[in-house]
Symmetry: C2
Subunit: 269 residues, 2 copies
Amino acid sequence: MEMKERPVGIFDSGIGGLTVLKEIRKVLPEESTVYLGDTARVPYGTKSGETIKRYSLENAGFLLKHGIKLLVVACNTASAYALEELKHNLAVPVIGVILPGARQAVMKSRLKRVGVIGTEGTIKSGAYFDAIKGIDPRVVVFPAACPLFVPLVEEGWTDCDVTRLVVKIYLKDMKKERIDVLLLGCTHYPLLKNAIGEFMGEETNIIDSASATAVEVKRVLSEKGLLNKGHGTTARFFVTDSPERFTNVGAIFLDNGELTKAELVKVDG
Amino acid sequence: MEMKERPVGIFDSGIGGLTVLKEIRKVLPEESTVYLGDTARVPYGTKSGETIKRYSLENAGFLLKHGIKLLVVACNTASAYALEELKHNLAVPVIGVILPGARQAVMKSRLKRVGVIGTEGTIKSGAYFDAIKGIDPRVVVFPAACPLFVPLVEEGWTDCDVTRLVVKIYLKDMKKERIDVLLLGCTHYPLLKNAIGEFMGEETNIIDSASATAVEVKRVLSEKGLLNKGHGTTARFFVTDSPERFTNVGAIFLDNGELTKAELVKVDG
């Protein structure tokens, strides 16, 4: 197979990375994709840095066997803890979700006041904080962990009273800080964009890493002359556990019926 | 060390089993305990039966190395999927949380109408349903999965508006069924006993597997002549990842400051 025709590889700790896949397929409809959800070991957010690095290398190893031309780490925790390790060990370009999201947030903030929300692990890692400060040290960053957002999304409660109440509890302090950009630093959160946007109001620009990452993938493929002119592109899905749950909950993420089958695989050892 | 003096071993997929440990130490203050939280691989509830069996055997193997005289599987998912496998492979008595809870629920229900709540995995396994029917086939069982209860407890939101609203959504249909016993089939749920009891009303008896299991442990130890008359009993805690998070969130579960240190270990391979 010619290099160009090879698929883009995407891994996540579970199902959340499907928001990134969805944006990639929207921006790059002529690319084939291979998605790996490490559902046997989800969530990464409560695990240690060392464990996350080991899991990420195993996931990447699996995708490389499928001949990918570029790797997207569609998991904020893995992007925070394992990106350098992956770049150091892999021969293909590696793109995480943090830097693209951070860049877009900085670009869009006129007031230089940016909120960032994510899981406990992502926020505690300081990865978005550091990335934003690295791009523009003048930006004031307001981070907040929102641990209940992921289970709410996976329950399918993206638009209900409970969700609106939880959004209010997590974001009421941030709203007082007069931020003009709120960066969704978790792949599940794009599904709560409406509920979050409603609470924060029109003056706050909601940025998600998923779409920013898709744009970055296109830029890198183009720069390296690796863009495909695909006919009959494919989208394969692999999981390390419970393919049935993955396809069921996945339906919340991908609305076009693209995800009908996920193949069970083993990636550790 | 004499057999009697050996510790009781307890494992859970993570932190929830601490409610079981707490009851065991209340009922059996003269016993030493060794607790293993498999925090690297939590949650079990979304994983397949095969995976859960493998993890459970690895956890038991670790505890056996610490010379335990009895094993408590303080995890509903592992009790549902791996108890027979464990009993078959281990030389020490093995007690799960399902049968003790089911027995007590049947005993307390005059109307023979019992509700059971738990995680998606536990409810889908049908383990409580089967256990109750096995004890008394005349009992009508009303099962319901409550996936958001665990993250609510781990967030420490055991008594707030969000929790009351979620309780109402999950249990409103069950309330209409005129059950007189509601069995909490998840180790996290005892922490929501007040919120659940408030919604269900006084006519519903709330039973939790944790305290029922502790009573069963006492019965088995006594029957086998293994009860300890301990001086200076110890309680050790091991986790497979993130000891810091375990001790922090653990404080929600154990209120006596008993959990100050958790030791990091590897149990797989």
